[in-house]
Symmetry: C2
Subunit: 84 residues, 2 copies
């Protein structure tokens, strides 16, 4: 079961890379929901606090990376929305 | 710590609702990455299997709802991309 959990964590974390690339390349994030990425980033930050609280290395690592990716998408969304 | 975990699960799950609403209303999912939602849905499905494996009700519930929302966004993405 730990292998399934590792695959799950890897996929849900890495999945934000193509979204970040797409926003970066197209410079058009209008179809992306600001509310989604605000709420999602807050949720992932809570997962990070939870991981620290239960001292789980995998939970900390997966959520730290996901948080960085989600915040990067959020930053590009705000930046490009202001321009247009 | 369980409270933090619950808030985290609620936020990361509910965050997909505004994204689904946005795609549904605008009927324009071009800025959304297909790769992201394919990989993310597969990852969440793995989390679901993991939750069943470790018999964790909260992991099963949160990921079942997230999977439905992610698949709905994916279905709309494919549908509207074909039209345009």
């Amino acid at each position: 079961m730990n292998a399934v959990g590792s695959v799950a964590a890897a996929c849900t974390t890495v999945s934000f890379v193509p979204q970040l690339m797409r926003v970066w390349q197209r410079k058009s994030p209008r179809d992306i929901s600001l509310s989604m990425f605000l709420l999602f980033s807050f949720g992932v930050a809570c997962w990070l606090v939870y991981g620290v609280g239960i001292r789980s290395g995998p939970v900390i690592a997966a959520n730290a990376i996901t948080l960085l990716l989600a915040l990067a998408i959020l930053a590009l969304k705000v930046r490009y929305d202001r321009r247009s």
